[in-house]
């Protein structure tokens, strides 16, 4: 069995990700289309929330992935910081826009869902507000990557930003709990809860979560490949200029 670190070699990563990509994206499309179709057409309305319950198939997966993408970026940044594998830094860069879009989807679907249920588009509820702050963190992180010319310096600076941002994201989360009691319900999918959402909603929801996850995986592989190519292009052009 070979070591995981072999994939830190860009050539090896390109070969493996190229072989994986069609499968992952195929599965992602299958799960997303299947899950959303199942949720949209084949599930009953909730007796209290009516048809708005269908928004859950977008809202919950996007929200789960919005947080996990940041975690993945944190891990990738740490790997870059400790082991200096370029692919890792580029993967973190590639993931950030995906995370930002997922966060935006979670916020938007939440607003559209909140309007009929709570009677307001936006409520300064701790959960909503912490997602808004998470969105700002994503924007800052992306802007930092764009602003620095030297790619290694950009990778290092965004790593520091990601570490500090993660700490502050957690602090903000608890500060917001202190600040305001919310309208948002508690976790509806925890493993230890006795009462989760009913099975009819549960299976399509899990399919959608898998779909969002696979979509994220496919996009990160794909975008990391682009970043590796862009890095190589940059190096070649720099060589030509000095030659």
């Amino acid at each position: 069995m070979s070591s995981l670190w072999e994939y830190a070699n860009p050539r090896k990563f390109m070969a493996t990700s190229g072989a994986l990509l069609p499968w992952v994206s195929g599965l992602a499309v299958l799960c997303l289309v299947g899950g959303l179709f199942w949720g949209f057409f084949l599930t009953p309305d909730d007796f209290r929330q009516g048809s708005t319950v269908k928004i859950i198939y977008l809202h919950v997966p996007a929200a789960i992935m919005a947080i996990n993408v940041w975690l993945m970026m944190l891990v990738a940044s740490l790997i870059w910081l400790i082991r200096r594998h370029h692919v890792s830094a580029l993967a973190a860069k590639a993931a950030a826009p995906v995370g930002a879009v997922f966060t935006a989807i979670a916020l938007f679907t939440g607003a559209v869902w909140g309007q009929p249920m709570w009677g307001t588009w936006w409520e300064w509820d701790p959960r909503l507000t912490s997602f808004l702050i998470l969105f700002l963190f994503y924007l800052g992180y992306i802007a930092m990557w764009e602003a620095v010319e030297n790619p290694d310096a950009a990778a290092d600076l965004t790593t520091v930003l990601c570490l500090v941002g993660s700490v502050f994201a957690v602090i903000s989360r608890y500060a917001l709990l202190f600040w305001n009691q919310g309208l948002h319900q508690g976790a509806s999918l925890s493993m230890d809860a006795e009462q989760n959402v009913a099975d009819v909603f549960w299976y399509p929801l899990v399919t959608c979560i898998a779909g969002f996850f696979l979509l994220f995986l496919a996009l990160v592989l794909y975008r990391t490949r682009t970043e590796i190519r862009a890095r190589r292009l940059r190096a070649l052009l720099a060589q030509e200029r000095t030659a």
Binding site: F40, G50, T52, I55, Q115, R223, L236
Partner: protein, 51 residues
């Protein structure tokens, strides 16, 4: 098409905007990938030609 009752606008907006956002993300990724790939192939071909 299922009967969405009086919340049809909300549900359809949520689905519509989300799917558009995901599609835009995929489209931008593909466009960027194609552009970088083409430029890289150009440069590599140029370097191979004289040497």
């Amino acid at each position: 098409m299922p009967d969405l009752g009086r919340y049809a606008t909300e549900v359809l907006t949520a689905y519509g905007v989300s799917i558009v956002a995901l599609a835009a993300l995929v489209w931008l990724s593909v466009r960027q990938a194609r552009r970088v790939r083409r430029r890289l192939e150009d440069v590599e071909a140029r370097r191979r030609a004289p040497g």
